[in-house]
Amino acid sequence: MKRTTAHRLTSFGVLVVLAALWQLASILMPYESVPGEPMIPGWQILVTRTFLSLADYWQGGLGVPSVAQGGPRTYAGAALAVLSNSWDTSLRLFTGLTLGVAVGLVAGLAVSWSKWSRRIVALPAQIIRTFPMLALIPMFQLWFGATFLGMALFVAFAVGVIFFTGTVNAVGNVSDIHVDYARTQGASRIQIYRSVILPAMFPELRSSILLSLGTAWTAVIAAEFLGAQTGLGQIIVFAQYFGYVGRMFLVALFLLFYAAITYALFERASRRLTEWMPRELATPDRYGAP
């Protein structure tokens, strides 16, 4: 326990150091990307002028007029812009994630029911794992346009493929001895699924869940980079187009913060489910999501 506190402290310290380095860089390299827009904006600019400029992305309403309609840039407008765009992004993310996880898990379990179907999908599943999923976005836009449905479906597709292959793999890796042990005690097929396969595959599935989470974030950002009308990813590419590094940086920080929160929430939720595990199994890695 002491070790984790120390770890948190160093992590925090390193983040502070990084923030300070950014500030130092902003002083040492006072270049501008476009006139009036520093290439590396210091924190004093980020939290004031840059944040205020996010008000441009507020569509108006709730008594705060939009900048496009001639309203002034206000902190309230900026906050509303961040909130509404965050909401749009998260809705796409969670709709896609939920759909993808549900379909991937059910399909994976169904395929694993028989040894034959498991062997049939093993090779395609292995190949699909390396499929450059992000390259498919333009197709999704051809099919569905840059709509909520298109983006959510893209997230669902990317997550579903990962979850499906992860589930098939995890079921295949459940140790035979536990299945046999349940069988000698008279467990039925369904009982084996419920009380042996599902819990035993969870450690492996956990990395699939984390990978899905990362993939979902990447997929939603990628979808928003290409032609969305709202959302945090859309703000970033729009700002990049005009060379507004400060806005990009600030919005990227919001995205990172949200992603970190989803990871933390998942970790919390899964801790109870993994109480039985030996320690080294209980901390999977979440790496691999681009």
Binding site: L15, A122, L123, A135, L142, T218, G243, R286
Partner: protein, 272 residues
């Protein structure tokens, strides 16, 4: 009885898996025949195959879109070279930093938070920054990939070195191995299986990432082909580009897997 296992030819893949693969292509063909996904939007496999063969080594069609005269292959070469260069750099840097962090507690205290943060964030958000800093050049894509690859290789190398049984290091020492030999013969060899696992994961993610960052802006590459063809609504060529990239990704994965099995052939395999 048991010694005959090598002499009998063994199929490298499960024939049922081939059936599964064929079923997948059949499913694709079947979907492409539906009207609500018109021919334009989901091209049939045969059309995609034809598009690939016609435009593979040279293509005046692609040249019209400033994608060079080298056809798909020319753009593929650009994409592959970026992925390989980034991976090579990341292996050297990632393994060196990973090993160092496993040995030096102070270094780890500093490197871990950075690497772990970088490893968990959706790396893609950094792509627009590289576009601003490097323009639409090769460097923008390579920088993004290095950022992605290095964090993965770092983590796997670190874990491998940390998990390595200290008995091996002690044994090497008693046999007279110096520090360099310990690193090269014990750490490097012992950590290889896990580092390879990391490389494989990094590579699997890198193809899509590279293609997407090319979509955002690059002189050429498969991602640029996809972007240009999608703008023309030529879904057949979009698929042709995606499928060739996917084939390359699979080929690399198989090659890496084979190399991995060969280099780590001393490992005990699970007998199931």
């Amino acid at each position: 009885m048991a010694r005959t296992s090598l002499s009998v030819a063994r199929l490298p893949v499960d024939p049922l898996g081939i059936i599964g693969l064929l079923a997948l292509v059949a499913l694709w063909w079947g979907l492409s025949q539906f009207h609500f996904l018109s021919r334009l939007a989901l091209p049939p496999p045969a059309g995609v195959a034809a598009a690939i063969t016609q435009n593979f080594f040279s293509s005046s069609y692609l040249a019209n879109y400033h994608l060079g005269y080298g056809g798909l292959a020319g753009n593929l070469a650009y994409t592959i070279s970026n992925v390989v260069v980034a991976l090579a750099v990341s292996c050297v840097v990632g393994v060196a930093l990973g090993f160092a962090s496993a040995r030096v507690e102070l270094f780890r205290a500093f490197a871990d938070p950075i690497m772990l943060t970088a490893g968990t964030i959706p790396i893609l958000v950094t792509a627009p920054f590289f576009l601003i800093w490097f323009g639409t050049s090769r460097s923008a894509q390579i920088a993004l990939l290095i950022l992605f690859d290095v964090t993965i290789v770092y983590l796997f190398a670190q874990r491998a070195a940390a998990n390595l049984d200290p008995t091996y290091v002690a044994a090497g020492r008693t046999l007279g191995a110096g520090p360099m030999r310990i690193v090269s013969d014990v750490y490097l060899k012992g950590a290889l299986p896990e580092v390879f696992g990391g490389i494989r994961i990094a590579l699997a993610g890198a193809w899509g990432l590279e293609a997407f960052s090319e979509l955002l802006g690059a002189p050429k590459g498969v991602g640029r082909v996809i972007q240009a063809m999608a703008a023309e609504m030529d879904s057949q060529m979009v698929f042709a580009a995606i499928m060739t990239l996917a084939a390359v990704a699979v080929a690399f994965d198989v090659a890496i897997g084979g190399a991995f099995d060969f280099i780590t052939r001393w490992r005990r395999r699970a007998r199931l």
